[in-house]
């Protein structure tokens, strides 16, 4: 059941963004940044947590989930260490993903024979 919910919600988020992409011709990096910020704001106003509880990875696998992790991380850090948590929470919670991306990018750039045009 959880898999069905994850599939439908994750799929719906992508289908909605597909409409935006075709109607507005916004470039991919802007889409990525917007999704992260929207995810963080939705989590900040406590609208995204219910979606995550309902759909699990259907809500956390889309980039909105990256924003969700940032906001959740900062809440937790503020609870634990006060004002300093405002600065440390976001990156701490997303450090695993960010480091995985840049380290894999570095490794792949050596392995891959593709010289360009991989976007």
């Amino acid at each position: 059941m959880m898999y069905l919910k994850a599939f439908v919600v994750g799929g719906l988020i992508c289908a909605i963004v597909q409409i935006f992409m075709e109607k507005t011709k916004i470039k991919t990096p802007r889409i990525l940044v917007s999704l992260v910020v929207i995810g963080a704001i939705l989590t900040g106003v406590e609208l995204y947590e219910p979606v995550v509880e309902f759909a699990g990875a259907g809500a956390t696998a889309p980039l909105l989930g990256f924003g969700y992790a940032l906001a959740k991380g900062v809440f937790k850090a503020v609870d634990e260490s006060g004002l300093l948590g405002v600065l440390t929470g976001g990156l701490t919670a997303t450090a695993g993903g960010i480091t995985a991306v840049i380290v894999l990018a570095y490794i792949v750039s050596f392995i891959s024979k593709e010289s360009n045009d991989n976007k």
Partner: protein
């Protein structure tokens, strides 16, 4: 003279050969691919949860597994083939963020370690990290003030 039947046949032929950019079709493809990536992350999450992992760690591993899949697809040159069909279905999951960073690293690898890969890797990662941090600090500051006042 070209008969109506021939006209119709030609029209059908053109429609069949033209790359399909019908919004409905694209949305369905985005839905399916986005759904599949979500299910993969959910599978990793469930597997780790049943092995006693923390919720937040299991969720992070789910995302990292998608990042890894994206790295493999990009390295093999398959990502760019899939994205033509999947569209937002592969861009919106964290696979899209991973590919943007990885493909820039590949693109600039010939420009050197520091000013090539080192600097250019953040052309895409940079804005995401900056605006991500910025929103988390704003949200955190508001939350901190509410805690103080409340």
């Amino acid at each position: 003279m070209i008969s109506e039947k021939q006209k119709k046949e030609y029209k059908d032929y053109v429609e069949q050969k033209t790359p399909n950019h019908n919004l409905m079709v694209d949305m369905v493809l985005a839905f399916i691919f986005g759904g599949i990536f979500s299910v993969i992350a959910q599978g990793v999450y469930d597997l780790l949860m049943s092995n006693g992992f923390e919720k937040i760690d299991a969720s992070t591993w789910g995302s990292i597994s998608l990042i890894f899949i994206s790295a493999v697809l990009t390295a093999l040159g398959w990502y760019k083939k899939i994205v033509k069909y999947a569209g937002a279905g592969i861009i919106v999951p964290i696979t899209g963020f991973a590919n943007s960073v990885i493909s820039t690293a590949i693109e600039y690898k010939n420009e050197g370690q520091v000013f090539g890969i080192g600097a250019k890797i953040f052309i895409i990662a940079g804005p995401v990290i900056l605006f991500g941090c910025l929103s988390s600090v704003v949200i955190g500051a508001i939350y901190y003030i509410i805690q103080l006042v409340g």
